[in-house]
Amino acid sequence: MSIIRTHRWTTVLSLGLGAVLFTGCAGGAPAATTSSAPATASAEDFDLDQLIEAAKAEGPITIYDSTSKIEKMAAAFTKTYGIEATGVKADAAEAIEKVTREAQSGNVVGDVVAISDLPAVKNQLLPNNFVTNWVPADLAENIDSSMQEPLVVITDPSFWTYNTEAFDTCPATNIWDFTTEKFTKKVAFQDPVGDNGALDWYSQMEQFGDQELHDAYKEAFGEELKTDKESAAAEWVSRMAANQPILTKSSEEASEAVGATGQDDPPMALMSSAKYRNIDEKGYALGVCEGLVPWVGKASPKSLTIASGTKSPNAAKLFVHFALTQEGIDPQISDGKISSNSSVKQPEDPANVGDHLKEIFQFDNAGLETDWASREKWQDLWRTSSKK
């Protein structure tokens, strides 16, 4: 009997010992690396030609971006400057993970990273010096100060959309209409609990758009908003959650929900302007809800930063500069995105983004810390308010 017991204990002990030993190999506390970083702000006497010369002397660069258009942009960059550039599609979560790990291992692959999760960039990547922010001095005056730290390259508009086959004009006139009975189970958008973009939008609305929401409420219901929540934005989110919206896994699904033809009573949706290409590709009937008070949609920013350990800092800077010019950013803005450089002209696109520039809600970098800290709060508010 005792032999068997001894065997058992030996097994347990050896397993435990093995586990402890391998803890040493296992990932310990993530440690920040320090490395020489290029200057965060650019000098007054910025010389583009000097930058091009320096860049050409360096090696090829890789750019991470969440859109497949980055491959076209990289090809155009190579064509213009002769510096080899490769565009790699990586969504925000992936890119953040890759940048972090690459910086820690010293094996930097992505020299320039475009990440749409700005609070993460501001609170995770920048403070730990995994990336650095660089704004080209010759273009800085055309970029709003709320979009410089970190540098925003484009904003991605999403619009409140209705089905143009079933309705002649938009069935909603006010953002608070979506919280009423008329729109119960008739609004579709991506599940906010799993969507950082939505959570950040709620936080930004609370910080910078609360007065407009109050005014819109008065316009819709004829009386002042009385709420026990912290803000009009929180009240709106809570009511939306309780109004049983159709939660989809992606903006693509939301566009199908609203735009598929042959529906008698289709819902409305908040969806990315890029999905308006489905009008041609899939024959959907989509139209922007014109005149919705106070905003027709929102514009989520995407940042462009340079990896701190890059071996080609000047080539990286040149790409950042390129991405802020008309020819550089063309593949993305012809799809409906908006350049942060206000001198870049907005081309024609299926959603006519150019006509709505003043009516969409813009984010402000000043609120990024609050956005980061309050994601859980908005998740919890949504979860506790929703009814099924």
Binding site: H7, T11, L15, G18, L21, F22, T23, C25, A26, G27, G28, A29, P30, A32, S68, V88, K89, E97, K98, T100, R101, Q104, S105, N107, V109, D117, A120, N123, Q124, N128, D191, V193, G194, D195, N196, I246, T248, K249, S250, E252, E253, E256, A257, V258, A260, Q263, P266, K275, R277, N278, D280, E281, K282, A373, R375, E376, Q379, D380, R383, T384
Partner: protein
């Protein structure tokens, strides 16, 4: 065997010497299996234990960016995440309700799969059901298809207005499916059961084939009725196989993500894997680590149960390798009903899902069965309106690239896994140090318990940094192959162990006494004798790897795109025709691989399940 000396021998001086630690250690060190075992332990420690531990550590260490919330610096110990998951106002929503849902869904589907699989297995092995050999292979097919393809097929047929959008097939035919049928727990349970039934059929047919027919005949001679023989002889003898199947299914159901994601979200039905996914996609890695730890724990409980019954199973041998003549039972008037039932199962679990998928790739508008709606454009057309993927699936270069990547990477991983599994089996069965074998078995089974998503994240964070002699593997095909090997080790090692258990010592010892070195023995004696088991042990990893998604989606890069990541990309774009076509191709590859291996090596998928 040299270690288990009978009681009376222990008292003599010679026996004392034999039992002494020094002597035993000498024997242990002499045996080549020991060195092999230690090497394997090191390899798997790096590939499996380290990522799992780093994953679990994330549950109690403050992550980047959470310093303000947790009130401590990054990397320090904290109870913040544990608190949020177990005892905060939202714990009910993010943890307890999903936990309950997960448990009862897994239990229900397990019970249904057993209730369906056992009778069907008996029909296939012990009766004269017509076409039973064909059914044996055909009914295994659902196991080779990724479970989420069933979910896609389900939504194509049964979707209703609660999610708006395109019409489902039932809707076009004029009937609106009720909410409880279209989404939520009911379809999830149905799909899990259909996906797991082949698993049960495989294990039980294997066990039934090896059950000595003499016991059954002896009972019949004594006058027992068919009912009595079934309940009191056959079923109890099947108990190890049934329990093994049940615990393995349970562990798999806990981690399954795709089905619950597609069918649960519209009904607000959350399970642990979907809340895990939510935390990962919102950068809440601490919460993700806690939930993953719970899932590992749940799976671990089922593993303990399985190990315990495996030990008990050794009490009676069913695998004796002797050819036994088992009489098949004539079904007489039950022939037609049985055939209808088995045929029905085949239709529901294979024909309808696959058929739906294939049909959806050749119909422009779903549900419209008029002739002009059918088109082969999505397969072989050019210049399609879908801008991101404008060629038909069979003519697009992206498809062939992905297919080549899948074949060579998954193939290589499967081969390595099969070999490693056999080596593990060798160590477990032959090594005089039993603890080594047990340790290896436990370690190689761990990946089964870890949700694929979490495992991949742990791999990414661990292998980005160079450790000692190993360079940073991040961004290479190597990391994909390594994680696939690690993930498939559970079944490979089980297969290896059962293959080695069947092998007698005689041939090896004969070679040893003739002076053959260990590596030579391994190459020329052991491996050739178990080559069909090696093929089986390679086949299951290959089939799983071809359809595996959650593992690779994080680690693959454009140069290393696999078929499953390609289909996910297409789904992201909303190009459902192309995505479904790629899924059909995935199924075709898995089926082709199985058929080829069976023909070439006369191997059996059942062998690889141990």
């Amino acid at each position: 065997m040299a270690l288990l000396t009978p009681q009376r021998e222990r008292s003599t001086p010679a026996a004392e010497e034999k039992n002494s630690l020094g002597y035993r250690t000498k024997i242990i060190l002499r045996h080549p299996a020991t060195l092999l075992g230690v090497l394997l332990l090191l390899v798997f420690g790096y590939l499996i234990v380290a990522p799992v531990i780093s994953l679990l550590l994330g549950a109690v260490q403050v992550g980047f960016g959470d310093e303000a919330k947790a009130g401590a610096g990054a990397g320090s110990l904290t109870g913040y995440y544990l608190d949020r998951v177990f005892s905060s106002p939202v714990s009910d929503i993010i943890f307890y309700t999903p936990l309950l849902n997960t448990l009862w869904i897994s239990l229900c589907s397990m019970v249904i799969a057993l209730a369906l699989g056992v009778p069907v297995a008996w029909l296939l092995v012990r009766t004269d059901l017509p076409a039973r050999r064909w059914f044996s292979s055909a009914l295994i097919v659902p196991y080779m298809l990724p479970a989420w393809t069933f979910a896609l097929a389900w939504t194509t047929i049964f979707r209703n207005r609660s999610n708006a959008g395109q019409q489902g097939w039932m809707e076009t035919l004029g009937w609106e499916p009720p909410n409880w049928l279209a989404y939520g727990p009911v379809p999830i349970i149905v799909i899990f059961s259909l996906h797991f039934t082949p698993f049960v059929i495989l294990l039980v047919t294997n066990a039934l084939k090896n059950l000595p027919g003499q016991l059954d005949e002896a009972a019949r001679i004594c006058g027992a009725s068919a009912q009595q023989r079934w309940w009191r002889i056959t079923l109890p003898l099947l108990r190890p196989a049934l329990l093994s199947a049940a615990t393995l299914m349970f562990a798999k159901a806990i981690g399954e993500f795709g089905v619950a994601y597609v069918l649960g979200l519209p009904a607000g039905f959350q399970v642990l894997s979907t809340t895990l996914h939510q935390s990962i996609s919102t950068q809440q890695s601490g919460i993700a680590a806690v939930i993953a730890a719970v899932m590992v724990g749940l799976g671990g409980i089922s593993l303990l149960v399985d190990l315990r019954f495996l030990r008990e199973a050794k009490r009676f041998t069913t695998l004796n390798g002797k050819a036994t003549l088992t009489k098949t039972q004539p079904l007489a008037r039950w022939r037609t009903p049985a055939l209808v039932m088995v045929g029905g199962l085949f239709t529901i679990s294979v024909l309808i899902p696959l058929g739906t998928l294939v049909l959806s790739t050749i119909m422009r508008i779903p549900g419209d069965f008029s002739l002009q709606n059918f088109t082969a454009d999505y397969w072989i057309g050019h210049d399609l309106p879908t801008v991101g993927f404008s060629q038909g699936v069979l003519v697009s270069a992206a498809t062939w690239r992905a297919m080549w990547n899948t074949l060579w990477m998954v193939g290589l991983a499967a081969l390595c896994t099969g070999l490693l599994g056999l080596l593990v089996g060798y160590v477990v069965v032959r090594s005089p140090l039993r603890q080594l074998g047990t340790a290896l078995r436990v370690i190689t089974f761990m990946p089964y318990l870890v949700p694929g998503l979490a495992f991949a994240v742990a791999y990414l964070s661990l292998f980005a940094v160079p450790r000692g002699p190993i360079p940073a593997l991040y961004g290479t095909a190597t990391i994909l192959i390594l994680i696939m090997i690690a993930d498939e080790m559970p079944f490979a090692s089980r297969a290896g162990v059962s293959a080695m258990m069947q092998l007698g010592l005689e041939s090896e010892e004969a070679a040893q006494s003739l002076g053959a070195k260990f590596s030579y023995r391994l190459r020329t004696v052991v491996l050739p004798m178990v080559r069909s088991s090696l093929a089986s042990a390679t086949l299951l990893p290959f089939v799983s790897g071809v359809q595996g998604l959650s593992l690779v989606i994080i680690l693959a890069t454009p140069g290393t795109e696999l078929m499953t990541t390609l289909s996910m990309t297409l789904i992201d774009f909303g190009y459902t025709h192309a995505a479904n076509a790629v899924v059909v191709l995935i199924c075709a590859i898995a089926l082709l691989g199985t058929w080829a291996t069976q023909k070439l090596f006369r191997s059996n998928l059942a062998d690889s399940l141990g």
